[in-house]
């Protein structure tokens, strides 16, 4: 096969049709690109809602004994913030990018199961609505409603009928059940697509890292969501059918809920962070102008992380009184994760090494990611040492640590991915100056908030408290943390403004604005419904490099 078979398609001219018809197209679509964009837009709405909830939390904590909101409202806000961000913001955004990019990057015309794809999206969307409907229906049908206030990991027996009256916990349970089925549908779709839909010449060893990493992520979703779904069903049985799985007053076990939740909850961290690694693994090489360093090792490290990641869950439970042997095992498995994770950081570093770094907005976010993920990993080692965890666990240090992962690593690479693929999705360039402004506002806000958040944790401030006593040495830090939130909020507004403005007014991007190497850049921006006029055939991991450098193609070396 020759590289000539990658044809540069010509852009289509979309005829303007009535709004209702176009909306109907979106609602009934089974096109992976449209579903991807639906996922992303839907998740962006929830990202903003979750951000507003976080802002409420931070205003309440700006000084000791503040009374901006009542304890009840505060408890609902942190429950909704956590649940929204994990299940209805970050996960759907990542699914959206996976949906949009995987077929394009492996040279396919759609996902393996387009209708399952649409079904999964609408399940997830319905799950999010169900969660927020609790504000209206949480107390039953008598008017007043309440969001759940049991925390995003909803420890038993706080979720039992005794302690959680009304239906707020049911809305929480059902929304996660429903969206969980959506997630499993998407995961099965991703696995099948990656395994069965690759274009001629694309062996597993030539897949873009993004496809490999999302394949691993999807495998983790199937393994991790199942116990969560089981636990939610058991909780429903407890609440409505007189079961006693978690009912401690009838001999049930609160600790069993913890195991069920975290055997989902920790792999979930990798479900979120592995796609973030995927973005970094695509963006960093292009903006360093070098091939990814150690491709096979990157794949191996990812699979290794996924495997070990399934056996570390009880490091969330070092304080629940496991035996010394149990604690010791989970210290070892937790620390072991540092090895493949370290390998990844070093490989990205080696990719930059000797390159020509172009600090466009996507790369800025990825460079910040490298620094921040390094710190997140190191505080993770601290928390992984069980005795140290007995002090740091459930304190603001933990909050700082996992926001360093979820914001500092995942959200940062996500922003990078937005800027990187926005020209492909919309056909227009974003505004580079606004992108940089967004970056700097967000970097400043992020570090003001989450660097200083480690300190009150070390000084003994537990999480999930709606107020605190003066004289504990926490006041100044909390003030700084809250100030940082406003920088982040401003950054987010600039980001959304940039997307909206650029969608209408941005420069036309062309097929390949970054001079990149993977297949999505070989078709038009935005791609036609069928993605490729002729299915491409490839000979290396970087088919467009081969096309652009016929004198020195990759396939000579791989």
């Amino acid at each position: 096969m020759s590289t000539e078979s990658i044809a540069w398609s010509t852009p289509q001219v979309a005829a303007q049709r009535p709004v209702v018809e176009r909306l109907h197209d979106w609602v009934t679509t089974v096109d992976h690109k449209r579903l991807g964009i639906l996922y992303i837009l839907y998740a962006l709405v929830f990202l903003v809602i979750g951000g507003v909830e976080a802002t409420v939390l931070r205003i309440q904590l700006i000084r000791p004994h503040n009374d901006f909101v009542s304890p009840q409202v505060f408890n609902r806000m942190f429950t909704m913030h956590g649940t929204t961000m994990i299940f209805f913001a970050v996960m759907p955004i990542l699914f959206g990018f996976a949906n949009y990019l995987i077929p394009l990057m492996i040279g396919a015309r759609d996902m393996a199961f387009p209708r399952l794809n649409a079904f999964s999206f609408w399940l997830t969307a319905f799950g999010g609505l169900l969660l927020y409907f609790s504000f209206v229906g949480g107390d039953g049908l008598y008017g007043a409603g309440n969001a759940p206030d049991v925390g995003w990991f909803a420890y038993a027996p706080l979720t039992s009928k005794t302690f959680s009256v009304g239906h707020s916990t049911d809305f929480w349970t059902l929304s996660l059940l429903v969206s969980g089925f959506g997630s499993i549908g998407t995961a099965i779709n991703i696995i099948t697509t990656v395994l069965c839909m690759r274009c001629p010449g694309m062996t597993l060893g030539r897949m873009p890292l993004l496809a490999w990493l999302n394949l691993t992520m999807a495998g983790l979703v199937v393994l991790a969501i199942s116990p969560l779904t089981a636990a939610q069903l058991m909780l429903l049985v407890d609440r409505y059918l007189g079961g006693h799985f978690f009912d401690t007053q009838a001999g049930g076990s609160a600790v069993m809920w913890m195991h069920f939740f975290w055997v989902f909850g920790h792999p979930e961290v990798y479900v979120l962070v592995i796609p973030a690694f995927a973005f970094a693994s695509e963006i960093i090489p292009v903006f360093s102008r070098k091939a990814i360093f150690g491709y096979p090792v990157m794949v191996a490290a990812t699979i290794c992380i996924a495997f070990i990641g399934m056996s570390v869950w009880a490091h969330h439970m070092f304080t629940v009184g496991m035996s010394a042997a149990g604690n010791t095992f989970f210290v070892l498995s937790t620390m072991a994760i540092a090895v493949p994770t370290g390998i990844k950081i070093f490989n990205w570093l080696a990719t930059i090494w000797g390159g020509q770094i172009d600090f466009k907005t996507p790369m800025l976010f990825c460079v910040a990611f490298l620094f921040q993920f390094l710190i997140a990993g190191l505080t993770g080692i601290m928390l992984g040492a069980a005795p140290f965890n007995w002090q740091l666990g459930n304190s603001y240090f933990v909050i700082a640590h996992f926001h360093y992962v979820i914001v500092g690593a995942i959200l940062f690479t996500l922003f990078g991915a937005f800027y990187y693929w926005f020209p492909k999705m919309s056909g227009r360039m974003y505004n580079e100056a606004l992108g940089k402004l967004h970056f700097w506002l967000f970097v400043i806000g992020f570090h003001l908030t989450f660097d200083f958040m480690h300190i009150p944790g070390i000084l003994g401030m537990p999480r999930r408290i709606y107020t605190y006593e003066p004289g504990r040495g926490w006041d100044t830090w909390n003030l700084i943390i809250t100030i940082g939130v406003f920088f982040q909020a401003a950054g987010l507004l600039v980001f959304i403004g940039n997307l909206l403005w650029s969608y209408r007014r941005g420069k036309v991007a062309g097929s390949d604005p970054w001079d990149a190497w993977t297949l999505e850049w070989s078709t038009t921006s935005p791609p036609p419904t069928y993605n490729f006029a002729t299915i491409p055939a490839i000979k290396s991991r970087r088919p467009l490099w081969d096309l652009k450098h016929p004198e020195d193609p990759d396939w000579q070396y791989e």
């Binding site: 009184g321 390998i343 600090f359 005795p387 940089k436 000084l459 040495g473 070396y557 791989e558």
Partner: protein, 353 residues
């Protein structure tokens, strides 16, 4: 300075700043653990063996992670500054490098060794703390977590009290550690007094234990560290570490029944006539409820409402009148007492010394 170079330096600067801030935060805490605590709940100011061992381990972990940070951070900074795109590169691509087995091996094996060392260090501390021998002269206390207060029972000393734990100081030469059995009456809680020991959860149907042997007298603060409901934030911990004779005297006083006059006061009548006695006990009287704190020696405590307010007559009256003013979501209901009744009950409570 070119635009690109400025960006590269700015990225680096902000991260150097972070390094300094994080490092700077750790340094003063290391310098003088006991005397410069920064905060009454600083985990790096231990005064008891488990907290001390954890502190030693954390110093080791912090040193190792700081070293890793310094190396990787420097490499990243170097790479970002050195390999930025320069003007006049003529659009020529840099040399393409696909990988190197030796290098990959190096950065696999070295981390494995580091991880092993950290693991062994942690494993040793886990075993030392969790398998610590319980000497025969150890003080035994049962801690029961309630929404949103702490019950303390000294089974062998016949003392029941609430919210303010008293334990003796432990002389390192002749240790008298205190062993706590941790139970919960309702939801999950967590016992965390950072300067004395790491936290351990109180889980219904799942007894836990922890121990401490403070070597300095004083008041040590902490609070519930596992979300337990509306007033999780005001489930504060106060541990009074006393000299042995002082502690013995306290036990003496606490183990006596309530010291009340022979004539039953008006306040006591109201107390025993209303729902107060469903939840509260005053030993030596008809009140023997167990849902709320034991009030037999209420006035020997510095605070009420699990540390949420000082135990002053004024606060006591406000609390009895409507607990939700001080602690919204508290399980104690407002009894709707008339002003004269309220005064009488408050006077009665003030007599419980």
């Amino acid at each position: 300075m070119s635009g690109r170079r400025k960006v590269a330096f700015a990225v680096v600067h902000i991260h150097v700043l972070i390094a300094l801030v994080l490092g700077g935060a750790a340094v003063p805490a290391f310098a003088e653990p006991a005397r410069a605590p920064w905060s009454p709940t600083n985990i790096f100011a231990p005064v008891s063996t488990p907290a001390e061992w954890i502190f030693d381990l954390s110093r080791f972990v912090l040193t190792v992670t700081a070293a890793i940070f310094a190396v990787v951070f420097s490499l990243l900074v170097y790479a970002v500054v050195k390999f930025r795109q320069r003007r006049g590169s003529n659009g020529r691509e840099p040399a393409q490098v696909y990988g190197s087995t030796q290098v990959e091996l190096a950065w696999t094996v070295i981390p494995i060794l580091i991880v092993l060392v950290l693991f062994l260090a942690a494993a040793r501390v886990i075993a030392s703390i969790q398998n610590a021998a319980r000497p025969s002269n150890a003080i035994e206390v049962t801690v029961i977590g309630h929404q949103f207060w702490w019950e303390y029972r000294y089974p062998s000393l016949k003392v029941v009290t609430a919210n303010e734990l008293h334990i003796p100081v432990s002389d390192p030469a002749h240790p008298t550690p205190t062993f706590l059995t941790l139970l919960s009456a309702d939801t999950d809680h967590s016992f965390w007094v950072p300067r004395l020991a790491g936290k351990t959860d109180l889980i219904p149907n799942h007894p836990n234990s922890t121990w401490m042997d403070p070597r300095e007298t004083g008041l040590y603060l902490g609070q519930c560290a596992q979300y337990c409901g509306t007033q999780h934030a005001k489930m504060l911990l106060r541990v009074y570490v006393q000299m042995p004779d002082e502690f013995d005297r306290w036990i003496q006083e606490q183990s006596r029944p309530a010291q009340i006059s022979d004539t039953i006061s008006e306040g006591q009548k109201i107390f025993e006539r209303t729902a107060c006695i469903n939840c509260h006990a005053v030993r030596g009287t008809a009140a023997n409820g167990r849902f709320g704190p034991d009030l037999t020696h209420l006035m020997s405590r510095d605070t009420i409402a699990s540390g949420a307010a000082l135990n002053t007559p004024d606060n006591l009256r406000r609390w009895v009148k409507d607990p939700s003013v001080i602690k919204p979501g508290s399980k104690m209901p407002a009894m709707g007492l008339s002003d004269p009744d309220l005064n009488a009950v408050t006077t009665y409570l003030e007599s419980l010394r």
